[in-house]
């Protein structure tokens, strides 16, 4: 039961990638995802890996940190590889055979392809959050979502809610921790009994959490209304962000490369 203090993935170094506008990087991630899924051969993966490598080098993010995202997937990726490669009575080229089990040549190649694709996908997209602060991203998201307001999508409200949620994550986590400790002091046990009993132990944790949450929501809404918050059109901002010529150039050139790679290879 521990709440990490330093939190988030942002790597605070100065690099040409860090200074790109958040919207540029979000656009690149979207194109990158499409590109990765269009690729259907190892040459394509190699080209995509080259793109990721170039971006990573420009971003000044330590490779160790950039690869951290894969660690959580190690188990899943190993399962994927094994499921592709190991067959009962393999029909095609068999590399190794142990009884009815065999390692299938084509299966192994397929497995490696999917594993490499997932690794590139995760490393490439994580560059966005490694080089952009959550505040910049929230701002960028609001701008990207603004055209949706024409379809009555509440972009301004979503940005407001996102800001509130980000602000209250540490508070809520501390509160949860406090309630767990308090209920433990009153004799609640989270480490005894079967599955049902252990899960049930969380009822006296969840109920006060939600009661506090409903109360806090009323207080916060009242406080915002007393301060005349009305959101929506006409709201000004302290640090407006703009896409520069450099942003457009990077976005267009990189997108062109990714799409060409995706379609050709």
């Amino acid at each position: 039961m521990r709440v990490p203090v330093a939190f988030g993935q942002y790597v605070p170094v100065s690099s040409p990638v860090h200074t790109l506008d958040a919207k540029t990087k979000m656009g690149l991630v979207a194109v990158f995802t499409v590109g990765v899924f269009l690729v259907d051969g190892f040459w394509g993966l190699l080209a995509i890996a080259g793109c990721v490598g170039v971006a990573l080098a420009f971003s000044m993010v330590p490779v160790r940190i950039a690869l951290r995202g894969i660690r959580a997937l190690t188990l899943l990726l190993s399962f994927t590889l094994v499921a592709h490669a190991v067959r009962w009575n393999p029909a095609t080229v068999t590399l190794v055979r142990i009884g009815p089990l065999g390692i299938d040549g084509q299966g192994l190649v397929d497995g490696i392809f999917f594993v490499v694709r997932v690794i590139l996908l995760v490393v490439g997209t994580s560059l966005l959050t490694l080089t952009t602060t959550p505040v910049q991203l929230t701002d960028g998201l609001e701008r990207v979502m603004r055209p949706l307001e024409a379809l009555r999508f509440p972009a301004g409200e979503v940005a407001m809610m996102l800001t509130i949620a980000l602000r209250f994550i540490p508070t809520t986590a501390q509160e949860a921790e406090k309630i767990i400790v308090a209920q433990t002091a009153r004799g609640a046990r989270f480490d005894e009994g079967g599955l049902i009993r252990r899960t049930r132990a969380f009822v006296p944790v969840m109920v006060p959490l939600f009661v506090n949450l409903f109360r806090r929501a009323e207080d916060l809404a009242l406080a915002m209304e007393s301060r005349c918050y009305r959101g929506g059109p006409g709201r000004t901002r302290l640090n407006p962000s703009h896409m520069t010529v450099r942003d457009w150039l990077v976005l267009l050139c990189a997108s062109a490369v990714l799409i060409v790679v995706g379609l050709l290879l």
Binding site: R2, V3, F7, G8, Q9, Y10, T33, G69, A72, L73, L76, F79, T80, A83, H84, F114, V118, L121, V122, V123, T125, S126, L128, T129, L130, T132, P134, L141, E157, V158, M160, M161, L162, I164, A165, L166, I169, T172, A173, A176, F190, L195, I196, T199, F202, V203, M206, V207, L209, F210, V211, L213, F214, A217, L220, A221, L222, M224, E225, Y229
Partner: protein, 188 residues
Amino acid sequence: MTRSRLLPFVRAALVAALIAASALVTVPIGPVPVTLQVLVIAVAVLVLSPAEAAAAVGLYLLIGAVGMPVFSGGGAGAGVLAGPTGGFLFGFFAGALAGAAIRRAIEATGGQRRGLLADIVALVVLVLVTYVAGLAQFAAVSGRSIADAFAVAVAPFVVIDLAKAAVAMLVARALRKAGLGDRVPPPA
């Protein structure tokens, strides 16, 4: 007091914060550390309006996408959403919306008497939608059959998910007794 226009927005934002925070507080139950995200989402489906529940889960996904380590196992970033397990996260969103909407629809036909039925159906819908979306993306991204995906990504978690759903019903009942939660406006 008149109902606040801002209240639904603020409430959804705070529930999103709670879902995110519940990923940070891990409780060591047995060999696998258990997080309470699924439990919080299930309670949200039972005590929030469909729009609030969907907004809360959607915000949680956005928070994760912008880089806060709020996905299971401290994952973060758009990569998780695009990766093999991302379908379960999108499934939470669709499931929360569908579950809460169905609960409301059933409550509207029978009021208090159908409360238990409404809760059970809502949670079954939440779990099923989550599994279907999760399986589809898992199979597509990792290039494996649906049956394989089921064995790895769903089967080990069915029992614990059902246990969490049952606990969510107990929590929702306690909250309703305290006069909180999503109440269907009485028919005019």
